[in-house]
């Protein structure tokens, strides 16, 4: 640790640190405008020049590395005289509009000028002509106020890897601009707003930020599973500004466009504000007592008539851990059924099944932050940039530091820009691809023999099943050239620390569990487990899908993955909950739909889910929901599903309640109440308590903290979790007791199940493949600007304008064959249904494959998808089905 003297104080510095960062860390202010600790040193504003003994001239503190014995003076008159003049130059180049500026009093230039005591203005104003640009949906650019500090363009390049803007022109004509000086709305900008967050002056401001917030609340983003920390700025019971929480270890201050600008749904005018009861076929407003009494009475009646097994519930990956815990407790203890499941069935059921079999635990093995230090990242079946934007930042950072990225994806996704190899396997052939890679690793002696011997079992039985499966055979099935398979295998196996990242492209198949097992085999074969910067990392899609699983919102396990058919476990819970519990695993999401059609399920309680858009084969879902005798939907909006309900209960949104979310890296984080719910809407945990009481099972809690205390008592992996321990960074489970620091990576010395188990995974084809009648392969996925069933993201108009509904991707050669141009309307057919959509002609999707996102109820891709199930995990094959298309006459004149 170098020791230096700053303004007479002895300061210890980190080796390699800059003088500026060292001073700031020691609480010594040096004025600066272009520095940010997350970015490379820049040295542009020259405000941080200092006097250093023995140094020529006045070096900038931000670009000078500390050295042992350095003597620095930050506040001498010669230094300040130079700074003052530079500051005067900036002020002379800046509009005189402070009083009407959004950032008045928080402006970086004002702060520096005040520190330096700049009062007089001796320099003539430059009268720089510069553009103002309102073409972005969410923020204004007023380049007259720009001080060219470059923070925005650097954050866009260095942190985001987007590079939508840069400094163009020279000298006085220098300006921050997109390529070709277009409006930023026409650029490659992804609207993440990181530039707005970092801008020290009023050049970049959010469109809704006319008045600053009066208070801020730190919480967790309600969108995907990254678990980004956000600071909500509140004024008049509305969110007026969102900023990234720099202290959050998962996101480190970054947010994507949805997190930063997509929270309009919270204060949307169509929020549910009162309970609704269906009377004479119409949903009408009711009091809470009427609604709750009715729900309890109908559930009791159905249980009495048909047994508890006639009642099922869908819990919610959007709700808190505490609420999921109470939901499954209500279903199991108050009603007496194990038919409780949630949307994890549709995303990572195969992960839970596969990884639990191979390792004993079905979660992300390592942490998000570790990705950045991995030598190789194998991204398969994950369009990370769009589905998990902040995790993608770590992958891009790793690539920038020299890590090799392998992307296996039929589509040319954004991460391909950062990849050493892109494997474009045919959808649904992942097992063949992985087996061929493992063949190469075995053939070329790249396997980690020691790890296999010491940590795994089943290798000897497994080995022969891949040793005969050559890359050439792999090529025949997957379409990926054999040499590229070899190249990818070598990169992965030769890297010191390699990580696998995957998502729905692996799991949503009838072979989903096999896909996951094959990945587990690959990691075990090369010893990439139980160490930092390695692992098998499934990316969870919902803010709290990890937590909903952890809390036992699954038909076969109680909280903490404790099996319902294990008598000892049941004993423990029956004692804790003072209730008898059902001993048979319940039905899964798609099975419940089938059971409803068969009149075996008669009542369905849906909390915060929208199966009418999210589930496969929607025509069948509609039939199932219509067949129920009693349907309760508890939500914040009147969703497609809620419209079919008998009772609708208005719930509080994420910003209106306390609780915890568990992100994809198993990190339990605090969610905080920032607003009052609208009208009579109430937090789900309170509603559930009232229902349970009416069902004769008292379940009252003062505060979600008390629920967490109960969770910790019955759930060993959450044993050490309590609200006071979640400051400031949360805790990663397993965290068995109050002194345990949490677990950044799993399976360190031993696997949860003892030894890692190799599974034989022969290649099986997808359930439905293109044929003469349905010649295209249809696959589905997410886009950056929308989220899941759209009930949150589609209420932000800007997102809707960027990503409007009803489009699908088709390869140019297919489009030519079909006589289609971009924007042409088409009717897409599968054996299950048909929808209208317009063509986007792009080579992003391979020839023969159509791609469609599933966010839109009115053009729901899931009308088309196949509900064929993986035999183990019961996950439907959302990623592969056969389709055909028919060109339609354009009645709207195109878009």
């Amino acid at each position: 640790m170098p020791t230096l003297t700053i303004d007479g104080r002895t300061v210890e510095a980190k080796p390699g640190a800059t003088v500026l960062q060292t001073a700031l860390d020691a609480g010594i202010y040096i004025p600066h405008l272009c520095h940010d600790e997350q970015l490379e040193p820049y040295g542009g504003c020259r405000m941080c020049i200092v006097d250093i003994d023995g140094s020529r001239g006045l070096p900038a503190a931000c670009t000078t590395q500390v050295a042992e014995g350095m003597v620095v003076r930050t506040d001498t008159e010669p230094v300040n005289r130079v700074r003052r003049m530079v500051c005067e130059m900036m002020i002379a180049d800046h509009p005189d509009e402070c009083l009407s500026c959004t950032v008045n009093q928080t402006c970086g230039l004002q702060k520096v000028a005040a520190y330096l005591g700049v009062r007089s203005q001796r320099l003539a104003t430059t009268g720089r002509q510069a553009v103002t640009d309102a073409s972005n949906e969410f923020f204004h650019r007023d380049l007259r106020k720009c001080i060219l500090c470059g923070l925005c363009s650097r954050v866009c390049h260095e942190l985001l890897g987007v590079g939508a803007i840069d400094i163009a022109g020279r000298g006085f004509a220098s300006r921050v601009t997109p390529f070709g000086d277009t409006g930023i709305g026409e650029s490659t900008c992804e609207s993440c707003g990181q530039c707005v967050d970092i801008c020290p002056v009023g050049a970049l401001t959010g469109k809704n930020e006319a008045l600053p917030p009066v208070r801020t609340v730190n919480t967790i983003c309600p969108y995907c599973g990254c678990g980004c920390g956000m600071e909500l700025g509140i004024r008049n019971n509305r969110i007026v500004r969102v900023r990234g929480d720099r202290g959050n270890p998962a996101s480190r201050g970054s947010l994507c466009v949805k997190g930063r600008f997509g929270l309009d749904f919270v204060s949307a005018s169509d929020r549910l504000t009162t309970p609704l009861i269906r009377r004479n076929g119409r949903l009408e407003a009711a009091t809470w007592n009427e609604a709750l009494d009715l729900v309890a009475a109908r559930l009791i009646a159905i249980r009495t008539a048909h047994g508890a097994a006639a009642i099922a519930g869908f819990s919610s990956a959007k709700c808190t851990n505490e609420e999921n815990y109470l939901f499954q407790k209500t279903m199991r203890a108050a009603i007496g059924t194990n038919h409780v499941d949630h949307c994890a069935r549709l995303c990572h059921a195969s992960t839970v099944a596969g990884l639990a079999r191979a390792f004993g635990s079905g979660a992300m093995t390592n942490s998000i932050a570790e990705l950045e230090h991995s030598d190789c990242i194998f991204v398969i079946g994950s369009n990370t940039t769009e589905a998990h934007p902040i995790v993608a930042l770590r992958i891009k950072a790793a690539a920038r530091h020299g890590a090799q990225v392998i992307v296996a994806d039929p589509r040319r996704i954004d991460l391909v820009r950062f990849a050493a190899v892109h494997l474009r396997q045919q959808s649904g052939t992942d097992v063949a691809l992985l087996n061929a890679m493992m063949h190469v690793i075995l053939q070329e002696g790249l396997a980690d023999e020691e790890f296999i011997r010491a940590r795994t079992e089943g290798f000897a039985a497994w080995r022969p099943t891949v040793i005969d499966f050559t890359p050439e055979q792999g090529e025949a099935i997957t379409g990926v050239p054999a040499d590229r398979i070899r190249q990818a295998a070598r990169i992965y196996a030769r890297s010191r620390q390699a990580t696998i990242v995957y998502s729905m492209g692996i799991t949503q198949h009838t072979t989903g569990t096999d896909n996951v097992l094959a990945l587990a085999n690959l990691a075990m074969l090369t010893g990439n487990l139980g160490k930092e910067f390695t692992g098998v990392d499934p990316l969870r899609g919902q803010n709290n899908v990890q937590g909903a699983c952890d809390m036992g919102a699954l038909p076969n396990v109680l909280p903490g993955y404790q099996a319902v058919d294990d008598a000892a476990v049941r004993d423990k819970f029956e004692n804790a909950w003072s209730a008898a519990l059902p001993d048979q695993p319940g039905l899964t999401v798609v099975e419940i739909m089938h059971a409803a059609v068969a009149a075996e399920i008669r009542a369905l309680y849906v909390m915060g889910e929208n199966p009418m858009v999210s589930d496969p084969n929607l025509n069948h879902v509609r039939k199932a929901l219509a067949a129920t005798e009693f349907l309760v939907v508890q939500d914040i909006f009147l969703t497609e599903t809620a419209r079919m309900a008998d009772v609708v209960l208005p719930a509080a949104a994420f910003a209106e309640k306390d609780g915890t979310f568990t992100n994809t890296e198993r990190r339990v984080q605090r969610v905080r109440r920032a607003l009052d719910p609208p009208g009579q809407a109430r937090p789900d945990w309170q509603i559930l308590g009232d229902i349970a009481r009416r069902l004769g099972y008292p379940m009252q809690y003062r505060h979600p903290a008390a629920i967490m205390a109960e969770i910790a008592a019955v759930t060993p992996i959450y044993g050490g979790v309590s609200y006071d321990r979640l400051q400031p960074h949360g805790l990663q489970w397993p965290c068995p007791d109050a002194d345990h620091p949490g677990t950044p990576y799993l399976h360190q010395d031993t696997f949860k199940r003892g030894r890692g188990l190799f599974h034989v995974t022969p290649f099986r084809a997808a359930a439905e493949l293109p044929d003469a009648e349905y010649p295209y392969l249809l696959t589905t996925g997410r886009v950056l600007y929308q989220y899941h069933t759209g009930s949150l993201s589609r209420r932000t108009q800007g997102l809707e304008r960027i990503a409007p509904p009803g489009t699908f991707e088709i390869h140019p050669r297919d489009a030519e064959r079909e006589g289609l141009a971009g924007g042409d309307p088409v009717r897409l057919y599968t054996r299950r249904g048909s929808i209208e959509a317009r063509a986007i002609v792009t080579s992003r999707s391979p020839e023969g494959t159509l791609f469609m996102s599933f966010h839109y109820g009115e053009a729901a891709a899931n009308t088309l998808t196949n509900d064929a199930l993986d035999p183990v995990a019961k996950i439907p094959e959302l990623k592969v089905c056969a389709a055909r298309l028919e060109k339609r006459p354009d009645t709207t004149g195109g878009r």
Binding site: Q65, T126, L148, G171
Partner: protein, 616 residues
């Protein structure tokens, strides 16, 4: 191919080229020659040669440095002296060539010098020309002598012998030799070249790179362009030796796209040496591999700054970053990179072949060797020269350059381009080296020298250079981007008579801040033209501010044109020229200029044959 074989072929080619027994016509077609009309002259010469069966005896050569005398043509014929002719325009070609080849008429009226040592009546020997006599041509050893497109010419005159020798030495020995020569960076900063190589050799990181900085951008400077156009192989050989010394296998030449001929010559030369096995894999069978690629600069002055140059090669915006880290530690793609300027590299082969001892005999104690200078501005003999460091400014401007033309007075010489300074007559006797120029407030720079006479306004000169730097600032750091703008505004105000006395103090204060606070050399030196003129020509500034008068009579905003009624003949020439009808007066009667209407364009002053219009 073995080097001996190449050498043998080269000598044969040279013998054919230089044979005294054969007629020969050389035409200087470097950019300076072409600008003077050498292209058209060459067409006529080829036509004549074809008619005389001499088509294969016409050669395009480079520039001898006597740019003021272009187009230059050298004629040679058995029995006749070789003679260099000046100012040979297209229409002069036929009479000249007919006279020389058909009648033995030496045309002393057009002749500049004899070239083969022999004298001729009324024609000076080349070596005795005042512009040539005190030059020592190391970098310019082949300029104008060889055909730059012919690698054999270069080799015949000792080319690639330096590389052959270097490859027989250890890299450390090569570095020692360069260190012992005392060679310092000719791009302007004067860092010892051998030390730079040693730092790069010892730096950790692979691969390493060699970069040639050919992004010459100073107004008035054309040394690098000339060296590349006239002798491209000298740079390539220098780079190969540097690569061997530091352990690089890849090199880049970063050249301005505005130098198309230079780039063409480089491309041609690179192909030639690749074909000969002097560049590429296993050079001369030694196992040494080295490749060179050309990267064209897109016209930003700042890309001559080494860190900006590297960013530009990487495909990023050409913006400098703070040093350290220096390129020798973390350069191209973060790897150790040795960057040398064109002239520096062109010295290297000679240092290796003739030895550091020979080289360091030239120059001064701290500044060894020779330096090229581009003479421009108000000087009789513009051109490119090379003199030992330590030569006095007076020798350069008056003896070699022929002094100020048209009977005007010498006022200043500007060295080092926009980063340099203006030195007044009292500095004419300083010995030109790195330290002396810096002490006087100027810099060596890359070697541009612009001479100014008494009709040059020094405030306007400062304004011109600041306008240049403010336009070429990369925009990254605030003092350079904004400070140059503020200086330019004040200087413009001074030139227009709008400035106040306090503005001079403010100008000086801004200049010092820009110097102290700017990130890179561009900004740190941008105030030099202002500070040196303030230092040596303060009275001129004050005349502008206090008396609203431009002593040199150049600043249009401060100028009045008046007509001397005594001298005016009333010819109305000025009335007809005036575009704003500011001149009144009947024919044969004295005219008067209406000062309110006059825009001081100077048209009347230029047109008056009676010196009746005067500037006041």
């Amino acid at each position: 191919m073995r080097f001996e074989t190449i050498r043998e072929q080269a000598l044969n080619a040279w013998t054919d080229f230089d044979a005294p027994g054969k007629p020969r016509i050389l035409v200087g077609t470097a950019t300076c020659g072409q600008a003077a009309g050498a292209g058209a002259s060459l067409d006529r010469i080829r036509a004549y040669a074809a008619s005389r069966n001499l088509a294969d005896r016409v050669w395009e050569v480079g520039c001898l440095g006597l740019c003021y005398a272009e187009p230059l043509v050298e004629l040679s014929q058995p029995e006749l002296p070789r003679i260099l002719y000046a100012g040979v325009l297209a229409n002069d070609v036929e009479p000249l060539l007919r006279g020389y080849f058909e009648r033995g008429d030496l045309r002393p009226d057009m002749a500049l010098a004899t070239m083969n040592g022999a004298g001729a009546a009324g024609i000076a020997r080349f070596a005795d020309l005042p512009m040539i006599r005190s030059q020592v041509r190391v970098v310019l050893r082949n300029s104008g002598i060889i055909s730059p497109g012919n690698a054999y010419h270069y080799i015949a005159r000792g080319g690639y012998e330096g590389l052959r020798l270097a490859l027989s030495m250890s890299p450390e020995q090569v570095i020692e030799e360069v260190q012992a020569s005392g060679l310092r960076g000719r791009g302007g900063a004067g860092f010892p070249t051998g030390t730079k190589w040693e730092l790069c050799r010892k730096a950790k990181g692979e691969p390493k790179y060699v970069v040639c900085n050919a992004d010459e951008g100073d107004p008035g400077a054309f040394m690098d362009r000339s060296v590349i156009e006239n002798d491209p192989h000298s740079i390539i050989e220098g780079m190969c030796i540097a690569a061997w010394a530091i352990g690089a296998e890849q090199g880049y030449i970063y050249a301005r796209a505005e130098y198309p001929l230079a780039i063409r010559r480089l491309e041609q030369a690179l192909q030639q040496v690749r074909d000969m096995g002097l560049l590429g894999s296993n050079i001369l069978g030694t196992g040494f591999n080295f490749q060179i690629r050309i990267k064209k600069g897109a016209g930003a002055f700042v890309c001559g700054e080494e860190t900006a140059l590297l960013a530009s090669i990487e495909g990023r915006r050409g913006m400098p970053h703070s040093r350290p880290p220096f390129p020798a530690q973390e350069g191209l793609s973060g790897k150790p990179t040795n960057i040398n300027n064109v002239e520096t590299l062109a010295n290297i082969p000679v240092i290796i072949t003739r030895g550091s001892g020979w080289y360091s005999r030239h120059g001064t104690e701290k500044s060894r060797g020779t330096k090229t200078f581009a003479l421009a501005g108000k000087i009789a003999r513009t051109g490119l020269i090379e003199v030992p460091l330590g030569t006095s400014l007076r020798d350069i401007v008056f003896t070699i350059g022929g002094g100020v033309p048209d009977g005007r007075q010498f006022k200043a010489v500007q060295t080092g381009g926009p980063s340099g300074g203006c030195l007044s007559a009292e500095y004419l006797d300083i010995a030109v080296d790195y330290e002396n120029l810096a002490e006087a407030g100027a810099i060596m720079g890359s070697g541009g020298m612009v001479v100014m006479d008494d009709e040059t306004c020094m405030v306007d000169v400062a304004r011109y250079f600041v306008e240049f730097t403010q336009r070429e600032s990369c925009g990254k750091c605030a003092p350079c981007r904004l400070g140059t703008r503020q200086m330019l505004r004040i200087l413009t105000d001074i030139c227009n008579g709008r400035a106040k006395r306090e503005d001079l103090d403010l100008l000086e204060e801004i200049a010092h801040v820009v110097q102290a606070a700017s990130l890179c050399g561009l900004g740190q030196t941008a105030p030099n033209p202002v500070l040196t003129t303030l230092r040596y020509y303060k009275d001129e500034y004050e005349a502008h501010v206090r008396d609203h008068r431009c002593p040199a009579g150049q600043c249009p905003g401060l100028l009045r044109y008046v007509i001397d009624p005594e001298a005016c003949t009333g010819c109305t020439a000025c009335v007809r020229k005036c575009t704003v009808n500011a001149i009144a007066g009947k024919k044969n009667q004295p005219h008067v200029i209406d000062q309110e209407t006059c825009i001081t364009c100077g048209a009347c002053y230029a047109v008056c044959r009676f010196h009746a219009v005067t500037k006041v």
